[in-house]
């Protein structure tokens, strides 16, 4: 199956570690990918140093979008909001460990778009995410 559906991706899709919602959050944002109807909402809690202490995602979508959301949240917990600014397309692809074509890239980057739009506002997100 090429390497597309690496065990990691299917596993994190079936058994996500950070799926759910936070009753109280400092940041909460949602968006969707009209191509496939993927929908992701991310809730974040930060401490007084602006370090992300808790994060959950909810919604529905394909294995790529769900696994990348789960891996992304794992990656950003413990990082500061300033550090999250530096998370890029390449970070996500590294986390997933696969190459993606332009169509599936939209699935993979939806969670990053939601995360950044939630923290910094839609107008502040990276150009490559705006064009998704």
């Amino acid at each position: 199956m090429d390497d597309f559906y690496r065990e990691l991706i299917v596993d994190r899709y079936k058994n996500p570690l950070f799926k759910g919602e936070l009753e109280q959050s400092d940041f909460s944002y949602e968006d969707e990918n009209p191509l496939c109807g993927d929908h992701i909402k991310i809730d974040l809690v930060v401490d007084d140093q602006n370090i992300i202490t808790e994060a959950r995602f909810s919604g529905h979508g394909c294995a790529i979008s769900q696994a990348s959301a789960d891996l992304l949240l794992e990656y950003v917990i413990g990082k500061s909001l300033e550090e999250v600014k530096k998370v890029s397309k390449e970070t996500i692809l590294d986390l997933l460990g696969i190459e993606l074509g332009p169509v599936r890239l939209k699935c993979a980057l939806l969670s990053l778009k939601v995360l950044k739009a939630g923290i910094y506002g839609v107008s502040e997100i990276d150009q490559e995410l705006k064009e998704l």
Partner: protein, 407 residues
């Protein structure tokens, strides 16, 4: 039936390419767009190599040749759907533009505040959004014929809605998601009884079975060349002469005028009054070649072949666990949309792609229909004249891989 599938497949160069090393293509996405036979490709190529010129202007030999080829395409397309006159055939960019032409020109002039348009829940966005736009602009009412569990239109709702005297009724002849073939002739007759004008979205019907617009008595009928082995960028709007005559022009520009002064113009005769600017000439010629091709195979034969494939697919898909097909295998064309428990259609399609099987995943430009069935998206396999039962076997094998991976 004398159906030479091998010969047909040999006419479509793309069908013999490998998707990746050692993996051949099983193209089950013709409802999105059909593949093109070499006859269509070379007709367009030859036009550019030997006849290229602008049409309806210039008197040189090339201009004469190009104009003749372009207008012959109109005649051929008109005959293909049994229009009374070639001038009832208007060229557009696609089905979507054909429908927008009716909404923005006919609808703009003849629909007024409070008027009712009857549509259906199974419409493609292209036969929904133009009416939503017009409705909000002119304060029109939209009502929808519901879709039953079996994937068919609820004819009782339809009759009820006709009782409210709609000005326009519009529906797809065949659903691009469910494959349902709607009883167009009966629905049109019933709409005419209450004085409604009827527009039929024929994007999925004209490519797959014989269509006779006069027998149907359709007022407007819209379809696209690219779904019927022709080129992209070429759409057709059929309209009854009387209706097209009273409809104001769509876009303004060259070719759609008879006379222009600084502050006024006089529109051209049918069908040119709706064709502003230099049109898709090569695409018109390619569409004529596509019609020649489909006619040589025979539309009845194509319909019968797809019927066999659909029956075969229904039978084989029963073997696949966790799979649910939308709609019944009865009165439908070669389109099967399905859902697999706990697997997103994108993942289904991606895994199928890895074994060379091309299907569509998503909402197929019919979000309201998916909402009705309570799912965001489906996977869709669709069949055309060149598909084989062994491609359906490959689909089934691919779906078994999906189950193994996600079970």
């Amino acid at each position: 039936m004398n159906y030479n599938l091998e010969k047909i497949r040999a006419d479509f160069p793309i069908l013999s390419r490998e998707i990746r090393k050692g993996i051949s293509l099983a193209y089950l996405d013709s409802t999105a767009t059909a593949q093109k036979p070499k006859q269509v490709i070379s007709a367009m190529d030859e036009y550019y190599q030997k006849h290229n010129a602008n049409i309806h202007r210039g008197v040189h030999t090339l201009a004469e040749e190009a104009t003749t080829m372009y207008e012959n395409a109109r005649i051929k397309i008109g005959q293909f759907i049994h229009a009374k006159y070639a001038r009832e055939i208007v060229f557009t960019r696609n089905t979507t533009e054909s429908i927008n032409l009716v909404a923005k020109s006919w609808g703009q002039k003849f629909l007024n505040s409070g008027d009712l348009i009857v549509l259906t829940e199974m419409e493609h966005h292209s036969n929904l959004v133009p009416w939503q736009m017009l409705a909000s602009e002119k304060n029109l009412e939209l009502e929808f014929v519901s879709v039953n569990e079996d994937g068919r239109l609820d004819q009782d709702t339809y009759k009820e809605l006709l009782g409210r005297s709609p000005k326009l009724v519009t529906f797809s002849h065949m659903s691009n998601v469910l494959g349902t073939i709607n009883p167009a002739r009966e629905m049109i007759a019933a709409a005419h009884e209450v004085g409604a004008i009827v527009l039929v979205d024929g994007a999925q019907s004209v490519p797959h079975f014989p269509v006779d617009v006069q027998d149907l008595d359709a007022d407007f009928y819209a379809f696209s060349a690219h779904k019927m082995v022709g080129p992209t960028g070429f759409g057709i709007l059929y309209g009854k002469e009387r209706l097209l005559d009273m409809t104001p022009p769509f876009m303004g520009g060259g070719d759609m005028i008879k006379k222009v002064q600084l502050r006024s113009f006089k529109p051209n005769d049918l069908p040119h009054k709706f064709e502003a600017g230099t049109p898709a000439i090569a695409e018109a010629i390619g569409t004529a070649a596509a019609i020649d091709y489909l006619k040589a195979v025979g539309m009845e034969n194509i319909a019968a072949h797809e019927h066999e494939l659909t029956n075969y697919a229904f039978e084989r898909l029963l073997d696949v666990e966790n799979l649910k097909i939308f709609g019944k295998n009865d009165g439908r064309g070669g389109v099967i949309s399905f859902e697999m428990a706990n697997v997103h259609p994108h993942d289904v399609a991606q895994i199928l792609d890895s074994v060379g099987v091309a299907v569509r995943a998503g909402h197929h430009c019919a979000m309201p229909l998916h909402e009705k069935f309570g799912i965001p998206a489906t996977t869709r396999a669709s069949f055309y004249l060149y598909n084989t039962t062994s491609e359906i076997d490959r689909l089934v094998e691919g779906l078994q891989i999906v189950n193994d991976m996600f079970a």
